[in-house]
Symmetry: C2
């Protein structure tokens, strides 16, 4: 039995639809050889790549960002654990930030919406004096994060 998997086999093993796998290939996130028939033949190592993609999506990375991460893998050989580890090191930060935001939201939920002061222009938590100067109106502290918001995806 060869190491090469059909798109259906990869789909079954990964739980990712064949249409999605073709889409990923089109985006350059995964690659496949071709059988003489034209059918895709995936190396078994694509499964880890797909797991990485699914993982990264749950964290909130776009496919674009994921592509950028994957391009940092060593070319010309199947990545080993340390290669993956290097990539995912930056994610810890990202996850921590997102958790921190959620905790801030959790807090605000209790202290501000719960207490009835959430009114965007009166609440001390929404517009705290001790924070950086205003960056325009709006519920800056909870709702706005610097940088683009993490567009998290459906599973």
């Amino acid at each position: 039995m060869s190491d090469l998997l059909s798109i259906g086999a990869v789909s079954r093993r990964s739980g990712v639809a064949t249409s999605a796998l073709r889409y990923y290939e089109e985006l350059g996130l995964i690659s496949a050889e071709r059988a003489p028939s034209g059918h895709r033949r995936f190396n078994r190592s694509v499964l880890r790549r797909i797991a990485f993609i699914a993982f990264a999506q749950r964290i909130g990375l776009t496919l674009d960002e994921i592509g950028a991460e994957l391009s940092r893998l060593p070319p010309g050989r199947v990545p080993v654990g340390e290669d993956w580890g290097r990539l995912s090191r930056t994610w810890h930060t990202r996850i921590r930030e997102r958790i921190a935001e959620l905790q801030r939201l959790q807090e605000g939920l209790t202290e501000c919406i719960g207490c009835g002061c959430l009114s965007l222009d009166q609440c001390a938590l929404v517009n705290p004096d001790d924070c950086e100067a205003e960056r325009g109106p709006g519920p800056t502290r909870w709702v706005r994060q610097r940088g683009p918001a993490p567009g998290e995806t459906r599973g």
Copy 2:
């Protein structure tokens, strides 16, 4: 000075674009009276409603879900703190779950991708024996959550 705000004023105060406000009105998330001219006149209380919407979006609710939540507010009067508190009570659970998932991801990042075993069908963390029986293939433990995934939005 009246309690009624133009759409521009609401936009400035809330940080939400006028086009988005019209969209929210179309979806029934907010409402406005009309001036004789046809211009929208928003009650000041709409600001809290908008804050709630923005808040809920960051948590990962869709506008549909947010509409469902808002429909539980008492009709015929401006909601008070306790009304908002009731609504947001369920969110604590949701936030906690999301935080838990991120922590699980964080863990998996260290233990599984980092160590090099992430391969979807071999890793004990991806397919742990001590978890519920398989619900199909794929990286069940981290990547799949029961129910639809939280489609989080841009800020």
